[in-house]
Amino acid sequence: MMGSRAGWRRRAAVLLLVAVSLSAVLATPAAAASAAADSGEAGRAAEQHSERISGSAGDVLEDNPVGRLKVFIYDLPRKYNKKMVTNDPRCLNHMFAAEIFMHRFLLSSAVRTLNPKEADWFYTPVYTTCDLTPAGLPLPFKSPRVMRSAIQYISNKWPFWNRTDGADHFFVVPHDFGACFHYQEEKAIERGILPLLRRATLVQTFGQENHVCLKEGSIIIPPYAPPQKMQAHFIPPDTPRSIFVYFRGLFYDTGNDPEGGYYARGARASLWENFKNNPLFDISTDHPPTYYEDMQRAVFCLCPLGWAPWSPRLVEAVVFGCIPVIIADDIVLPFADAIPWEEIGVFVEEKDVPKLDTILTSMSIEDILRKQRLLANPSMKQAMLFPQPAQPRDTFHQILNGLARKLPHPEGVYLQPGEKHLNWTAGPVGDLKAW
């Protein structure tokens, strides 16, 4: 296994060299000369217009997790998972559907083991984001109680939770602020991460440095975006990209923040005020039916924060090959150890939004072309998607890779006799009620 990986690395290095030399050659203006060079080396390089991606953990995006870890799935009563979906099937389509699809993937995955004694990780399939309002927004008010009830169940029925106080368990919490279980940032910060989850590994979409709701060792994942819907809107890749900057969404949230300045920390409003008159910026609050097609015709797609720093726009930009411009201070992006986001996207601080046009137009063309090549890598697009059924190198596999990278468990995981870390009565009184 290690030997093949080393060989793979060598091949990767050769390919990188070829790609670098190709890009040097292609930079010369003579089209005929470069065309000859292309045809000559096209045979050697498999995909000359995409580049290999390797992040801080190395070239791990294409790893196969099977055989590297074993996951045991607790068998919870229906009320924790299946019953919720039956009551409201809209949970399968909204952007928090990752928790449901992860469960379904694990049930039939090769990493699943039915013998908990040999498991490295334990998964609790509780859907905390499936209590929807009539409009389809998830209510987080009962989620702490649901989670608490699930943990009480597994700690009573199996010995594995108490063995480690949850340190080798993982939970998928895709809500706005992860396991803080609130949609409003102040309230989420006030609540903090659920005390019972202090030792567990959290798989969540929210990521912001030095934030209460991001625990160390969490795995950040992209939000769920329906892959079939996106794939139905592909246009021919030789359609020229003629939009410079593209964005569709709200700039002011007049219903909840009428004065402005609160929503998106004022960044979206600043975008609008500075660039509404700029023909290079195709930004508006429209919801056109050609949204996906337009993204494929744009060079840069803005991904500013909203009420929370993450959004499915990042996934859409990556899938459609549009360079994401991320405007969210201190954000932590999905799989940050496997994907070198600084090389793929453009990071703009919120205070620099008025200078966004200067920043984007002063980027060197080689940078831009390199980012497009990285985005064209099919592994990159695959890593952001949740296809059903699961395919190699998709988000499900990247989550398992992330969990595998955390193995073997460090020394403090197994509790000494008499050692206890969790406080079962911590948190607001309302959370202690049974569910």
């Binding site: 009539p134 020229p240 831009i368 497009q372």
Partner: protein, 527 residues
């Protein structure tokens, strides 16, 4: 304070109405953050007073147009107390600073003001918090390194001149050009072949018009191109200089015969000129795709992308623009209009994408009314299938080329006996092996048009005026006839004021606008 439910996820898409109706909690009214935080700790007796004050402030805000809240009273009447660290006052300050920020261009000073006050109050600050919330939040985050990202209300940064900078716009366009070039390189044609454009032409009034248009089209073709111009009556300096200015690779070939004035003869001569250029291509062993671009036709850029796909001989759909040029249009009955076929010439495919036949231009409606002499004001029609709709691989003409198929005749065997070479199908033994291009002929990639001036119309040689023209009207007066007295007096006044010819031109254009307006008015009255 109660807010309507607002997970950021839905906010991008849901309408405001949907959001507020969806939430179970009551949404706050126009009043925002701090005021309710302040109201929380008040005694009930005083709360009615505050409520009335709040109502008064709302009414005042209605008139004023910006939010005039009781928080302003705090600011006005208790400036000395601002420096004491009570959460409500810091909230007050933040709210008021925001009001000013949003209505005017932002100031960084305002922002630092906000943040500095945040530093004095208990970190991390939050406008909505009451005391207990702050304490617990402070306790919760005491273990973390302080993040510089602050929750709460921020100013909206607007730069002093929020308009595009022209230099940056040009840079952006250059970036997009390069990106599109790379796209073409990655996803477009892998090995672009040279395009050989064959154009028969001759010296006449409209030659410069047609050649200039074709020249600009060819300059935009992204592939290496050679323009083979065959000129009837020998090469002329005027044509040569026009071609030399184009910046393209030119092969300028003289053709000994003069172009006749009769359309039928002109078509025949053009065909012979094209055959002549094909012989030249064969002699010089030029390699590439041959496109027959007549000088008065109009070509789309997709045509040149499509022709790269041709193997030996391809056909594209040509739109036929047979303009009548006459003032009276023949009245067509409804059924005529229904039966009128599309003015398109080109290949027709069967359902499996194979060439099944040809679509030709129906000239029945025009019988008897077509032009015979060049320059006559009557429709000019194409014959059968035009050369312009065919594309050849130049290797097809070579004496020896590898892979040359058997169904291609030798070029020498064609046109020897002076027979009419109507279209390049004559070069083939088996016309069914022509490849249909442009989505099997569904896409019209070029338009065929014949527009000419009268054969005897004069035009300056090379469009350079030599000797200078004689004076028709002296410069002090415009050369148009006077219309009405009042109009002309207006004009004379304006002319006397401005001697600058540029300004008189704008007068001219405004005047012509007004004349057309009047004409429209007159017609309206007649109706």
């Amino acid at each position: 304070m109660m807010k309507s439910l607002l997970p950021q996820s839905q906010l991008r898409r849901a309408a405001a109405a949907g959001r507020s109706s969806g939430g179970g909690a009551a949404s706050g009214g126009a009043d925002g953050a701090g005021s309710d935080g302040g109201a929380g700790g008040r005694a009930p007796a005083a709360s009615t007073f505050w409520f009335l004050l709040h109502a008064l402030c709302c009414l005042v805000s209605l008139f004023l147009g910006f939010r005039f809240s009781r928080l302003l009273f705090f600011l006005l009447f208790s400036t000395s107390e601002l420096y004491s660290t009570s959460s409500s006052s810091s909230a007050v300050l933040r709210a008021t600073t925001t009001t000013t920020t949003t209505t005017t261009t932002t100031t960084t000073t305002t922002n630092t003001f906000t943040l500095s006050f945040a530093a004095t109050s208990n970190p991390p600050p939050s406008t909505l918090a009451n005391h207990t919330a702050l304490d617990s939040a402070a306790a919760g985050t005491s273990g973390h390194t302080q993040s510089h990202v602050v929750v709460g209300r921020h100013g909206i940064r607007i730069r002093p001149w929020p308009h595009p900078d022209p230099v940056e716009v040009m840079r952006a366009h250059r970036i997009m050009e390069r990106v599109q070039e790379e796209q073409r390189r990655w996803y477009g044609v892998k090995e672009p072949r040279q395009v050989l454009v064959v154009t028969p032409t001759y010296s006449r009034a409209f030659q410069a018009l047609h050649l200039t248009g074709l020249l600009h089209s060819l300059r935009n073709v992204p592939y290496p191109l050679t323009w083979i111009v065959v000129e009837a009556g020998g090469t002329t300096n005027a044509t040569a200089s026009l071609l030399a200015r184009s910046g393209l690779t030119i092969v300028h070939i003289p053709f000994p015969d003069r172009m006749p004035h009769d359309w039928a003869d002109r078509h025949a001569t053009e065909n012979r000129m094209r055959l002549h250029s094909l012989r030249v291509i064969r002699e010089r062993k030029m390699d590439g795709v041959i496109v027959f671009a007549d000088d008065s036709n109009v070509h789309s850029m997709e045509l040149f992308d499509e022709v790269q796909k041709v193997q030996w001989m391809g056909a594209v759909s040509v739109g036929i623009l047979a303009h009548t040029g006459a003032a009276d249009q023949p009245r067509l009955s409804e059924e005529d209009k229904q039966n009128m076929p599309l003015p398109v010439q080109g290949p027709a495919c069967n359902s499996s994408g194979q060439l099944a036949g040809w679509h030709t231009f129906n000239s029945l409606p025009f019988t008897g009314k077509t032009a015979t002499v060049v320059g006559e004001a009557a429709p000019v029609l194409p014959r059968g299938l035009e050369w312009a709709g065919f594309v050849l691989n130049s290797r097809m003409l070579w004496k020896e080329a590898e892979g040359k198929p058997d169904w291609v005749k030798d070029l020498d065997a064609v046109g020897e006996n002076g027979e009419e070479v109507e279209n390049p199908l004559i070069l083939l033994n088996d016309p069914s092996s022509v490849e249909p291009l442009g989505n099997c002929g569904k896409k019209v990639l070029l338009w065929w048009l014949r527009v000419e001036a009268r054969a005897d119309s004069k035009f300056p040689q090379g469009w350079v005026i030599e000797p200078p023209l004689e004076v028709v009207v002296p410069a002090k007066r415009t050369p148009w006839p006077e219309t009405t007295a009042e109009h002309s007096s207006e004009l004379l006044n304006t002319k006397q004021d401005q001697e600058d010819r540029r300004l008189s031109r704008t007068n001219r254009s405004s005047r012509s606008r007004s004349t057309t307006k009047r004409k429209g008015g007159v017609q309206g009255q007649e109706n």
